[in-house]
Amino acid sequence: MPSPARTRTRFTDSDALLPTLVAGALIFIIVFIGYPVAYNLAMSFQEVTLGNIRDFARPFVGLENYQALVADPLFWPVLRNTAIFVITNVVLQVLLGLGLAMFFLQDFPGAAWMRGMILAGWILPPLVIAAVFKWLFASNGGLINEALMGAGLTAQPVNFLSDTATAMATVTFTNVWFGTPFAMILLSAGLANLPRDVFEAAQIDGAGTLTRFTRITVPLLMPTLLAVTCLCTIYTLRAFDVIWGMTGGGPANTTNVLPVWSFQLSFQQFNFAQGAVIATMMFALVILVALLYIRSIRSELRA
């Protein structure tokens, strides 16, 4: 115990601790997040080539890059693909995650082991997952087609990745497989924190399983559900590796989404300015979703 006569308090006890920590975090955010975002924003209004990419002061072209991008025949298809990909992924991941979390709430032999196995899917590097699933979904010699044909479900192989009608569904399936464990874990934690006594009271009052779920579980879990939905949306908006590894945005741009297109523009076609335009648009989208997330956390903290 420090004696009252000591004039110096330890730093960790002093009033200077909180502002210092906050300042440290702020500096980190400004340098590693704020600066790249500002740089990107600036780039989207400039004419950028390999020759001037090192400079900060490049020719200013106003909204020319934005106009060129919107006029590109790929713009609306890519935007549509992104919307479909994100919405489908989020809905499926949250629903499946919730279902799995509820399933594992029950204590049955092997539950913990099974939950760990599911999590293994999320730990794998996404490019590895892309490579494996690309092989599984192959039209000739792919395991899934062999199983389908062997079980007599289809006579001809399904062209999962080489048909414009099914490619998006296939990469969505793979991304859902990849992302659901994350949603499951978060929702499991949320479920574990629900107060037991409310459920017991409801059961005594005669509420059935479905009523308990819809009237108690879901409303109580709503802050967590909102948080998980926001996080899933943000992660899926950024999803690049699975699509890149499986189809490269094809066939014929049917699985081309914003991050893939941005990569192609910047690193394959040397069109850095338009790549920056896409990045800026995505940033705006993600900020909106992130603001929703913050609001949902705040209500969770308050509750």
């Binding site: 080539t49 390999l50 020759g51 990419i53 090192r54 690309k134 192959a138 039209s139 000739n140 010699g141 001809q156 192989p157 062209n159 990745l161 080489s162 048909d163 414009t164 499986m246 189809t247 490269g248 945005g249 094809g250 066939p251 014929a252 741009n253 049917t254 192609q264 910047s266 690193f267 394959q268 076609q269 040397f270």
Partner: protein, 416 residues
Amino acid sequence: MRITRRQTLALAGAAPIAAPALVQAQARTISLWHVFNLETEAYMREGVRDWNAQNPNQRIEERIIPFAQYRTELVRAIATGDVPDLCVIDNPDTPSFAAQNQLTDLTQRVATSERIRASVYHTGPWSTAQWRGRTFAVPRDSNTIALYINHEMFRAAGLDPARPPGTWPDLFAAARRLTSADGRVSGLMFSARAAEDATFQWLPFLWQAGGDIDRLDGPEALDALRFWVECVTSGVSSRDVLTVSQSEGVNRLISGNAAMAISGPWDTPRVSQQARFEWSVAQLPVRGEGREIHASGLGGWNWAIPQGTRNADAAWRLIEHMSRPEHMAQSWRSGRLPPRTDVPVENPVYAQAFRAYSEQILTARPRGPHPRWPDISRPIQTAIQSALTGQAPPDVALRMAATAIRPILQQTPLRG
């Protein structure tokens, strides 16, 4: 003098920061970026070892980057100003970097060099290293594509592997006989995936039909694309051509899931080691029915000295060193052909493949050269994929590609 704890900590913190500067001052190094796996690429490994032995004061510091990430890394290096002294560049990309002033102009050095002279290089590779009459790179190796065939499957289908198909109709008929009824074995594998592979593999067919990139809406291009569409719709080529790379197509040949595969000599070592059947490499067939144009694609790597390095002289001497015939002759051991006419390869391994590819490369054409090659390649890939999936009929798909490419070629003509 007693050193306090704080002073010790300060010294400990400063030492790692100062150390690299000291090391740098003593040993000058040449930084070299490339894509080659040193275990299998004898040319690179022994050339570098040889240089280091002769130049202990200017050792090579290699950085090996996987092919898929290579161009991205190079762009990033240029953006941060942290370029290597010497690097390799894929030959269709070289004009893009040269036209944007990112490569050191080597014209003067070539003029005074004894070893690097235009006359000594094959015209195809040399043309990819030029831009507007000046030299910006030096060819390192060349490759092309031809037809791998499985002799056992040929004989089982009643075909003679010593007389591989010589025309498109022959190729299609042979592939038909080689395709199994249950779809497990494809007659012919090629690559039509959403990447440069598709363009690289289709251009030979376009050229053999008598067409070219500036006439994609012409009848020759339609002829060439229709052939690919027919291969896929008839089932002689698996739909997976839309997703596999060239090497993955060869994997199917090796595993017995394809009887023929179009690919280059970079896959030859692997086929030689892993195939459990007799195989050989055949020339790409010509169009037939009146057109006898031999053509294939030209791939390969060029040496280049990025703009902004302070070690250009040492890098140039390294290029000359690596261009010595006795070193270049080693490149065939990993399936890469020398781009020079004065490099005899004695007793080449995979002898039949060497003869076949050496013959095919005589009719190989470079892509472009054009500084906006990626902007030309992408619409072609989309057209190919659109037609092969049935999303659009081939003529519509090609017309869209032609429309996208026309303004680019108007701004800078091909071979301009």
